[in-house]
């Protein structure tokens, strides 16, 4: 199986449209900070704004030539926050493996030392997904949970029972960041 993490700046028109289509689904929007439907025009403008922006990195996740989701990090005031979403029907093995590969890329290619995560309180599945990858809750307010994962903790957590369970599948995946 081949998975390509393709930088938004290099997406073709169709791929860009497919990302927008997933992003505008109700089940994704309700868990986003900005939850209005995004127009194609605004989406295209925003993607163009990412070119040469060193503080934001967005990838489309393309599995066997099908756009399955997106992952990203954003740097704001020296703090990095990650985000990830998938089509509703994505195979959970694929989504778990993609999250693992993206976190590896964040810590070992992009050299991020600490990654934050912002999760809406009602999004219990995303909260446990983050926790199971080793993110720790450090703050909460009325609407959000704030979690963080440091590179050293990621290294240690990679041997957890939960993360080890995806290793056998990772071995069968060919992937690239482009």
């Amino acid at each position: 199986m081949k998975i390509v993490f393709k930088n938004y700046s290099t997406l073709n028109e169709q791929e860009s449209f497919e990302i927008l289509n997933i992003r505008n689904k109700d089940f994704i929007r309700k868990n986003m900070i900005t939850n209005e439907i995004i127009s194609l025009e605004n989406h295209t403008k925003w993607i163009n704004s990412l070119k040469n922006n060193l503080d934001k990195k967005y990838f489309a996740i393309i599995c066997e030539n099908e756009v399955m989701g997106s992952c990203s990090w954003v740097k704001e005031k020296d703090e990095f926050t990650w985000g990830i979403f998938f089509k509703e029907e994505v195979n959970p093995i694929i989504s778990s493996c993609c999250a693992y590969l993206f976190l590896e890329n964040c810590f070992f290619y992009d050299k991020i030392e600490k990654l934050g995560s912002l999760v809406k309180k009602e999004n219990t599945i995303a909260f446990s997904f983050n926790k199971n990858f080793g993110f720790e809750l450090y703050k909460e307010d009325e609407d959000y949970f704030y979690l963080k994962l440091e590179k050293e903790d990621w290294e240690n957590n990679k041997n957890s029972r939960l993360i080890k369970s995806i290793k056998k599948y990772l071995d069968k995946i060919e992937y690239q960041f482009s």
Partner: protein, 96 residues
């Protein structure tokens, strides 16, 4: 066979939930929701659960089964919706 499979599923759930500490998976029964709409598992927890379960089923019934089949993992028709649907799915795999 059905009862035995369900017992293994529930034992596996209880063991895994010692780590997850997920309230919706406490005291599991045949109607406990697993994955998808209102399910207690996120995708990583489901993969871990599948790995443990495949091993236990193989030990108990002396037959290798693959639960992580491409079709089975599709969210809408997934046998991982709840304990009962998973029990029936495993039973059908063992009988084939």
């Amino acid at each position: 066979m059905k009862d035995k499979i369900e017992k293994i599923i529930i034992e596996t759930l209880v063991e895994l939930n010692e780590e997850l500490e997920n309230e919706s998976l406490e005291n599991p029964s045949s109607i406990t929701k697993l994955y998808g709409a209102n399910g207690g598992f996120d995708s990583l927890a489901l993969v871990s659960f599948i790995t443990d379960l495949e091993e236990k089923i193989s030990d108990e019934f002396d037959k290798e089964i693959v639960l992580a089949d491409e079709k089975a993992m599709s969210a809408k028709t997934s046998p991982f919706r709840n304990v009962e649907s998973l029990t029936l799915y495993i039973k059908s795999l063992l009988e084939n």
